[in-house]
């Protein structure tokens, strides 16, 4: 059994408090218990030079990256997922949900079985389950999703869902539009299967959104984007952030793409100030993440990359971000003026809470998985650890 101890400021309690992090067997250890009960000290000590230690980031919406498109039904989807899993370690991401956009059933049937839930490690970030965004979404708000493959579940509700996706074993999140007929049955069935239901790509009004939450929905997919704009007499899905019609004790979470493109900083601040505890930073990254400017493939379509922006080729429609998670965290911090702790929680604790994993992930509490990142004061990732093992390190830190 190996014990490690890092000297650094930790994410909680407040940053001014210097603490050490203790790890054993891949989990975070209570050092006081170790001292008084087992009468042991650390076998190994690592000095993190007073840097910030934070829980590893969790990205619940990422469509691919580095040329890999999760929605492409290749023969070796697993290899593609593994490549992305390894490359996002440098962004501080230690767990993620590979996301599939609207696709024909044969794609789901071929791809889903090849993306099992998997623990992270030196090979890459852990896979928490797949996020299926579509095809049960609004035609009007499909955004970058191909119109040809949209469908409904009016005929057979949950049976239609199963027929489209195939077995749901590897599925963690489903984004759907609640205004579609029989959505309540579907939401209830998915929730009963342990799947997180998210509202998005929808023209639902607030009442329909609230009913969906009462049926079990707990997430909003990229708030503001692909939904009706906020209106003072009908706030639509956005109104869920301050709704008083939600089941008692239920927290509604909402994804935000804080890449500086998808949401105006003022809108980001409004959402954050209205409901800071529910904000979940997502990248919604497309396969062009990590590649240069030019044309690349997303789902069944072509996209054009220019700097930090990606459009459907030949149009002005945004189709996902190419900002890495740590860039999103820094941009979010700067745009909202929130505390460093809040910015970090939006990328770690909140997604863990959304998925009901907050005892093991997204936290530095005793007993949690030792997935954490070492950050400098401006939140640049210096090193990434999974299960207490160093899995990535910045060049300058290697010296």
């Amino acid at each position: 059994m190996e014990l490690g101890m890092c000297g650094a400021a930790s994410q909680c309690p407040p940053l001014s408090h210097r603490e050490d992090l203790w790890v054993r067997g891949g989990r975070i250890l209570d050092p006081e218990k170790l001292f008084f009960e087992e009468r042991r000290v650390a076998d190994e000590q690592r000095d993190c030079g007073g840097r910030i230690l934070a829980p590893g980031f969790i990205d619940v919406q990422i469509n691919g990256g580095f040329g890999i498109d999760f929605s492409q039904a290749t023969e070796d989807v697993g290899a593609g997922v593994a490549l992305v899993a390894r490359r996002i370690l440098s962004h501080g991401v230690t767990s993620f949900c590979p996301t599939l956009v609207t696709s024909p059933p044969e794609v789901y049937h071929k791809v889903l079985p090849q993306i099992p839930v998997k623990s992270g490690g030196p090979h890459g970030a852990g896979v928490l389950g797949v996020h299926l965004e579509g095809p049960f979404i609004s035609r009007e708000k499909r955004g970058a999703h191909p119109e040809a493959h949209l469908c409904s579940f009016e005929a057979n509700a949950f049976q239609d869902v199963l027929a489209t996706y195939g077995p749901l074993d590897n599925v963690r999140i489903v984004t759907l539009a609640p205004e579609l007929g029989r959505s309540h049955e579907v939401i209830q069935a998915l929730t009963a299967h342990g799947i997180c239901v998210s509202l998005g790509h929808s023209v639902a009004d607030l009442r329909a959104a609230e009913e969906a939450v009462r049926s079990g929905a707990t997430f909003i997919t990229h708030l503001f984007n692909a939904m009706l704009p906020f209106h003072h007499r009908d706030p639509g899905i956005v109104g869920l952030l301050t709704s008083d019609q939600l089941p008692p004790g239920r927290c509604i979470f909402y994804g935000m793409i804080a890449d500086g493109m998808h949401t105006n900083p003022a809108a980001l601040r409004i959402a954050h100030r209205a409901h800071p505890q529910g904000l979940v930073l997502v990248t919604d990254a497309v396969p062009a993440l990590g590649l240069g400017n030019g044309r690349h493939t997303l789902g069944q379509q072509e996209v054009e990359v220019d700097g930090l922006t990606a459009y459907i080729a030949g149009t002005k429609t945004l189709c996902g971000s190419i900002a890495p998670m740590d860039v999103c965290v820094r941009h979010f911090l700067q745009a909202t003026g929130c505390s460093v702790e809040s910015a970090l929680e939006a990328a770690s604790l909140h997604p863990a809470q959304l998925l009901g994993l907050e005892k093991r992930k997204g936290t530095l509490d005793f007993g949690a998985d030792a997935d954490f990142v070492v950050l400098d004061d401006s939140l640049h990732v210096q090193a990434t650890y999974i299960s207490g093992e160093l899995v990535w390190q910045a060049e300058e830190a290697r010296q």
Partner: protein, 233 residues
Amino acid sequence: MNVVKTFFFPLGLDFLSWKLCITVMRLVILDNYDLASEWAAKYICNRIIQFKPGQDRYFTLGLPTGSTPLGCYKKLIEYHKNGDLSFKYVKTFNMDEYVGLPRNHPESYHSYMWNNFFKHIDIDPNNAHILDGNAADLEAECDAFEKKIKEAGGIDLFVGGIGPDGHIAFNEPGSSLVSRTRLKTLAMDTILANAKYFDGDLSKVPTMALTVGVGTVMDAREVRIKCSLMFPL
């Protein structure tokens, strides 16, 4: 304006003349809390270094808790981090611990010692002794503690505080001068004073504690007591 005066009562004892409780008492007065803490820490540090502790020669230290010694602990930690002081060959014996309070409760003396001292230094956990207020047999626990002190060769330097009424550890005024480590019921004043650490809920405050006796303290080869008094000018 108030002035903080800090008094030291160093008591040097001659083992052979135990009938005399005090052979030498020196009184040291310092102007403020920080100076006093530094003075105390330097004294302890020098004592340990001059002793030249090693594998077969441990320096034994009796230690207090509470707000008074916090500054001293901070300084000792500083000397350790500077590389000037190691606790590798030091054994410690704390004065007291609450009965019935979980060891990991934030107000337990175990928590106090871990957070304010042990976690910052290089002491061997096997050499850090604190009474177990949750032992199945409290009397046996007290006897075992006395035995551990004896096995360690007695205490070289016992550091402590003194209450406004003259109490040492949980030995209230009137305690026998030859008392040993034992179970004590806490004085009402102490319980009331502690309530603020337990959300103001008197029912949550421990009512009993295990404490070293006056005799246990006086058996040490040297005793150093610190107290802070405020003098209005």
